[in-house]
């Protein structure tokens, strides 16, 4: 306390300005700058743009101010709501299956069994593949005419399916692809969490006679709660950001069967050049992601749990 007080006074012991008091601000300045340039500015600009009817190629000065009409139109636009519904369904199935699979595999491969490291390396490969390549790989695998999936189905006597040309099958295809790509992410996070669990607690539960199921359900998973919530949150945000794979795999079709909200915004902005309207929908997307993230953080408070541990 004395040191701190002395650092905030001048040579005569009077309170005054000390250059060192600026240190914290200097340290966080680069992060704040990046946040302002990379996040705050685009969001504010999108919000500003949503009040104008601007098309790429026209000088922005000539774009008419349309007030809240884009937001009004958005509320009554069935296509927007359909995209939100597709996004919710997509998020529900992908996150549910990825969490179950990722956690289960992490629990199974946690112990140093023979070949586990090889499996882990192979298993996380999809994470290292660029989304565009993932889209292309699965587009050709699902291709109705030349795809391997239909080829192997044909070998067991199943008729070829138009995977990407049927609404339900195409939806299944994007869910399946997402699970293939992102389950390893959950796996890695959970396995890292498992390896960081305090060994004394685990040993204590064994000494107390907990069986395998009790060990997992009553000891490990509760201790992993904060990590699971953070993984869930990251995947949830990813679901709303997902674009590249769907763009390549289905382009949102057939119809709007696989048109996630982010893809809908892209199509509105660049296919039909309605940048103002697309910005208004982007504002809705930001609010949705913000609201969901906030809700999860409030209800689960993973950081508090972590500090409690």
């Amino acid at each position: 306390m004395t040191d701190r007080a002395s650092s905030d006074t001048d040579d005569l012991g009077r309170p005054g300005f000390n250059i060192r008091s600026l240190n914290p601000y200097l340290f966080i300045f680069p992060a704040v700058l990046v946040m302002v340039c990379g996040l705050v500015y685009p969001v504010v600009d999108a919000f500003y743009l949503s009040f104008y009817d601007w098309k790429i190629g026209m000088p922005f000065e000539t774009a008419p101010f349309v007030g809240l009409s884009h937001f009004k139109r958005m509320i009554f636009d069935a296509d927007v709501w359909e995209s939100i519904w597709v996004t919710i369904r997509f998020g529900f199935w992908t996150i549910l299956i990825e969490m179950v699979l990722g956690i289960s595999l992490a629990l199974l491969l946690e112990k140093p069994i023979r070949g586990a490291s090889v499996f882990r390396t192979i298993f996380i490969l999809p994470l290292m593949v660029s989304p565009v390549v993932v889209g292309l790989i699965w587009r050709y695998l699902f291709d109705a005419r030349i795809g391997w999936i239909n080829y192997y189905l044909g070998m067991v006597g199943i008729e070829p399916q138009v995977w990407l040309g049927d609404a339900e099958l195409a939806f299944f295809a994007i869910v399946f692809t997402d699970i293939w790509q992102w389950t390893p992410f959950i796996f890695i996070i959970i396995i890292a969490g498992l390896q960081a669990l305090p060994s004394e607690v685990l040993e204590a539960s064994k000494i107390d006679g907990a069986n395998w199921w009790q060990h997992i359900l009553l000891v490990k998973l509760p201790m992993l709660k904060s990590i699971i919530v953070i993984a869930l949150l990251m995947r949830l945000i990813d679901v709303f950001r997902a674009l590249e794979v769907m763009y390549i795999l289905t382009g949102g079709g057939p119809g709007r069967a696989t048109e996630l909200l982010s893809l809908h915004i892209y199509n509105r902005a660049f296919d039909t050049q309605q940048l103002g309207y697309a910005s208004a929908i982007s504002v809705l997307l930001i609010l949705l992601v913000f609201g969901l993230s906030f809700a999860i953080l409030v209800f689960s408070d993973p950081l508090k749990e972590k500090s409690d541990i």
């Binding site: 790429i56 190629g57 990407l164 040309g165 079709g253 119809g255 296919d271 039909t272 309605q274």
Partner: protein
């Protein structure tokens, strides 16, 4: 002394004459003024344009004008070109657009009218002969204005020259039709019967584009014009739920039902590949299929393909599409750019494109090469009834094309729902867009 004066006078005269001769020589080369200039060309990474790269090298060799090519996937061109042409000073000096973008480019003030160059005695080659370029191509790709805004007329102006333009013809597998005892269809009634016959025989009949958005709309539009339909009436009221439009959608549904597996996922590449790989007996789309079928890297059916006119419905009317080239308003090298466009679309350039494996745009080139390529006589016969107004090239077309028709027609080919109901809903949506964009303002003002 006198002799010296005479000699000096002679030398002076000789020098003057030499200077005049040099001056005359400079005037005799229309390219000399621009030698050393570098122009940047934006065009698609498609076969015709790849073939044109040799012609571009020859242009540089002959004129001294350097050319940099920025080739992009064709559906990505528009965004890139608009961004470049919107800057005060753009990087592009020549742009090649898909014909449906021309209205938007002109409406946004991004293109230079070509009339100022076609009236320049020093730039225009007297042998250029613009009248030799197929009318339908020129109207469809290059002219903006007129009563509809995208067709010739008293307010029309020339903004581009077709290069890589196309019309639709029927391509069929001679061997399959012969084996099945089927004559190539010449009318839509015959086409529908043939598709059913082939389907019943377990042979995938006709391939088609069908992917949601632009592709499925393109597939449907091919049938709309010959069946007598239009997108709008003369007052810009949408007519995509007319009996003709519904019939065109019915034809598309039948094609999807009897054609190769996967039509609802086919873009241009997939639809063509299905035919070229032997998975479909009929192909009704761009004439470019002919050159592709001769390319052993793409095709397994070289020598097995016959060509016929686009089948006739209530009228004859094939598509007109492909690309045209023009000069951005913000180009810094417009005259050199014009010379480049003139060179590649001249009679000699057009003939050279044929030799390089590209598609000609001139009637004379088609006729001169009719003996060498099976499809050329068919194309020459098709072009007089190619319809430059088979789709409305207005700035709003992209939204109608992708968001309205592109969605409705997917429903047509992927469900069994009544087509009339689907097209009624699409028509209503199209009307809302036209209303939003102010097409009925005058009618409303006059109380119509």
């Amino acid at each position: 002394m006198k002799l010296t004066k005479i000699a000096n006078g002679c030398a002076g005269f000789a020098a003057f004459a030499a200077a005049c001769a040099l001056g005359a020589a400079a005037l005799a080369n229309p390219y000399e003024k621009y030698a050393g200039t570098t122009i940047v060309v934006s065009w698609p990474a498609l076969a015709h344009f790849q073939a044109a790269e040799t012609l571009v090298e020859e242009f540089t060799e002959e004129t001294g004008i350097e050319v940099e090519i920025d080739a992009l996937q064709y559906l990505k061109l528009r965004d890139r070109q608009i961004l470049e042409m919107s800057k005060p000073t753009g990087d592009y000096d020549v742009v090649s657009w898909v014909v449906m973008w021309k209205g938007e480019y002109v409406a946004k003030g991004l293109l230079t009218p070509l009339s100022q160059y076609f009236t320049s005695g020093s730039l225009v080659d007297p042998e250029y002969d613009i009248d030799d370029i197929a009318d339908a191509y020129l109207q469809n790709g290059g002219i903006v204005g007129g009563k509809k805004g995208y067709m010739p007329g008293k307010s029309g102006a020339l903004y581009g020259i077709p290069f890589g333009a196309e019309t639709s013809i029927l391509a069929y597998r001679k061997d399959i039709l012969e084996e099945q005892g089927i004559e190539p269809p010449t009318t839509y009634d015959e086409l529908r019967v043939v598709m059913k016959q082939l389907g019943d025989a377990g042979i995938p009949a006709m391939t088609s584009r069908g992917r949601t958005g632009h592709q499925v709309t393109a597939g449907w539009l091919l049938h709309l014009a010959p069946l007598g339909g239009k997108i709008f009436d003369d007052q810009w009221n949408p007519t995509i739920n007319s009996p003709e439009a519904v019939e065109a959608a019915q034809v598309l549904r039948e094609i999807a039902q009897t054609g190769p597996t996967g039509i609802p996922t086919f873009g241009f590449g997939e639809a063509s590949a299905a035919f070229l790989q032997g998975d479909a007996a009929l192909y009704l789309d761009t004439l470019k299929i002919a050159a592709m079928s001769r390319n052993p890297k793409l095709s397994k059916i070289d020598g097995l393909v016959g060509y016929g006119l686009h089948p006739v419905g209530t009228r004859c009317g094939s598509e007109t599409g492909g690309f045209a080239v023009g000069i951005p308003a913000n180009s810094q090298n417009r005259e050199a750019a014009f010379l480049f466009i003139q060179y590649i679309t001249s009679k000699a350039g057009d003939q050279r494109m044929v030799e390089l494996g590209g598609d000609p745009v001139r009637i004379s080139t088609l006729m001169n090469n009719a003996d060498n390529f099976d499809e050329y006589p068919v194309v020459a016969e098709q072009l007089p009834c190619a319809d430059p107004d088979w789709r409305p090239l207005i700035p709003e077309w992209n939204e109608l094309n992708v968001d309205v028709l592109g969605q409705a027609l997917t429903e047509v080919i992927t469900t069994d729902d009544p087509i009339q109901t689907i097209m009624d809903a699409a028509n209503e949506k199209a009307r809302e867009i036209m209303e939003r964009e102010g097409y009925y303002t005058w009618a409303s003002y006059r109380g119509n």
